[in-house]
Symmetry: C2
Subunit: 431 residues, 2 copies
Amino acid sequence: MTKDKIKIGIMGFGTVGTGAYEILRKNEDALKKQIGAAIIVEKILVKDLNKKRAVFVPDELLTTNADDILENTEIDIVVELMGGVEPAYSYIIKALDNCKHIVTANKELLAKKGNAVFEIADKKGLAVEFEASVCGGVPVIKAFRRTLNTDRINRIMGIVNGTTNYILTKMAEEGSDYEEVLEEAKAKGYAETDPTADVEGYDAAYKMAILASIGFHMNVDINKVSREGISNISKRDIEYGKDLGWTIKLIGMAQEIDGKVEVGVSPMMLPAAHPMATVGGVNNAVFVNSESVGELMFYGPGAGQMPTGNSVASDIVEIAKQIALGNKQLLDCDCNENKEFMDEVHSCYYIRMDVENRPGVFAKIAGVFGNFEVSLESVLQKKTKGESAEIVLITSKVNEKSLKKAVDSIKALDVVNQVFNVIRVEGNGMN
Amino acid sequence: MTKDKIKIGIMGFGTVGTGAYEILRKNEDALKKQIGAAIIVEKILVKDLNKKRAVFVPDELLTTNADDILENTEIDIVVELMGGVEPAYSYIIKALDNCKHIVTANKELLAKKGNAVFEIADKKGLAVEFEASVCGGVPVIKAFRRTLNTDRINRIMGIVNGTTNYILTKMAEEGSDYEEVLEEAKAKGYAETDPTADVEGYDAAYKMAILASIGFHMNVDINKVSREGISNISKRDIEYGKDLGWTIKLIGMAQEIDGKVEVGVSPMMLPAAHPMATVGGVNNAVFVNSESVGELMFYGPGAGQMPTGNSVASDIVEIAKQIALGNKQLLDCDCNENKEFMDEVHSCYYIRMDVENRPGVFAKIAGVFGNFEVSLESVLQKKTKGESAEIVLITSKVNEKSLKKAVDSIKALDVVNQVFNVIRVEGNGMN
């Protein structure tokens, strides 16, 4: 009934795959004892058989043919670490068809195709584990699926992208401009040559879709996840935020209010005392507010070969233990409810603009906001330069759609030269 | 093969039991969907059948006879929430003998008898889940057992007792004395009428024994866990700590160096920038340093009816899912290695004493430290009052045993009136 060897196939052998392989190898004896069976890496799918690798891997393990894994009847678990939707998606479907359990770190695939994957896996009693897909080494996925599953989560806030958090932290610490820090981040390897996926919030949006799907037990349509990156944040916004006691972070926000959800990613102003405000550098954190438990935070390394590799290894071991015990049906994902997205999001906002420096301008601007039922908490004149003045407005908690309409009208005013930025303000006691 | 009703018996129906019962009841439909079976509370062991309860419970569920649960062949899971070693231990053993899975929140029992419990459970393929035993609603136990199990943990630091953290936070915020804040904590229900278990570190020691056992996969002898409480901490220590940029916390420390472990609880000075230093009030946090993942922190409510109740409920659901899937053998604890405790702990220390205010005193004191190979980083004169002076000494990283011997000799010096406190200093970059 039980097995003494659990065989795995690894698809994709880059940074994370190498890390997971190393962890399994280094801790071989301890894991064998824990599992009651040995984990055997049977095959590794690579692009280039002759590539020089950082770790020693016997030649006979390497293959360029996916079917050596997908159609290998010896293999119990397929570990997909290729990234991107295709061919990873087709491989995972084929692996499930062939009754293999899945471990994946692929956030884009899960965000775009997770539901299809989970549906097949659930029907067949196969496990899909994906701890490494969100927050690298921080075990948020298991916490959501295994502890908070008995609770009702109201709100999830995440700093889930290390690159942007590094950039914003550096900008705040050094008073530097975005472009300057981005170049530095590229040089240090914290940002890709094409940084779009990170700085425009795509990566964070995928991760928030995953957290929302397991947190709210729902099928999240990635197209409904709102997304705004940090490329428009200037050092002046950071400086003015600081004056107000706030820190700017790229925040993934998922909340459920009266059965409707909001899932999105955008820069937000957080009060400096908020636990998320102090999460610096490339670190990640997830903050949860739930009905029974209240406020929880998970904090740690959001990326990196060994932290992310450990999440992959722990998923493999989790499944291997069940197989070794002879258990046939593994846990399903329970994220298939259909929930509506909110029509209206309410929040406070920070707005920075350049206006003409003459009497009556404030009254005109305030009048437009009033017309759209956007009430203002404060208007701060930050800087005057001859005929123009830079001002910052803070709204009360308002309807985002009304705010956007108001801002569009404000932009059309002849006394307004430019609206630089509109940034959500969260957790300051006002909302 | 599979079951559509999972029956549980709850032993002890105080705060946590009531919370767990409420969570299972309120989320009944959602949980049934997740599990694929209904959780039925079959019996609840209480002391007094006629006690007025905060929640509605049908009379026929209540019993004062433990065997109505332990010998009930219908019951799959026994949820032990009585606290204390006996009769809880005998009940758990009997439940295991009768092939029931165990959920417990009983830290004292696990710290003192956990190994015996795990041994029987492992042999029989029965689960023992204990998320609620450490840090209330914060899912550290599952994180340790299910994600960090593939990693090698070097160090665990925990703020695992809410009462003492509340007292120290208040003392720091208000500059109040220990006794004063303790009375206030009692009035608010944050401290027991007899606060010994909390303020003298017993509660924290039990929790650290549990974390060390699952973190280092070892059998921890609770008698080897060092323990020092906070009743000796004065507002002056807090004030002087603040001057040095440090915060005093009651820290549970478990570390493994070269295969030998240290497990203990004592007040420690932490740099204000340390993530644990900002954990305030009754909150709990666990900070982990491990080989692959690096630094992780878990933060949240360490007590309370609903947070702790949720941890109990999630453990029940975890086991129920496996039963519902027809899985017979559940995961074991893997904490049975024998590891030696360290003979020597090395750290920096803060020492506050009252000495005679005359020339040559510093030289005498420094001479004694020198004799015991304890080197000093700094000596600060804090306050003079006629013929006496209060001084604070900070040592380099030294052997704790040598330090204690040195302090004993210092106490015997005629120029030393009193040694008030010796407090470990951690994570300040010096060690």
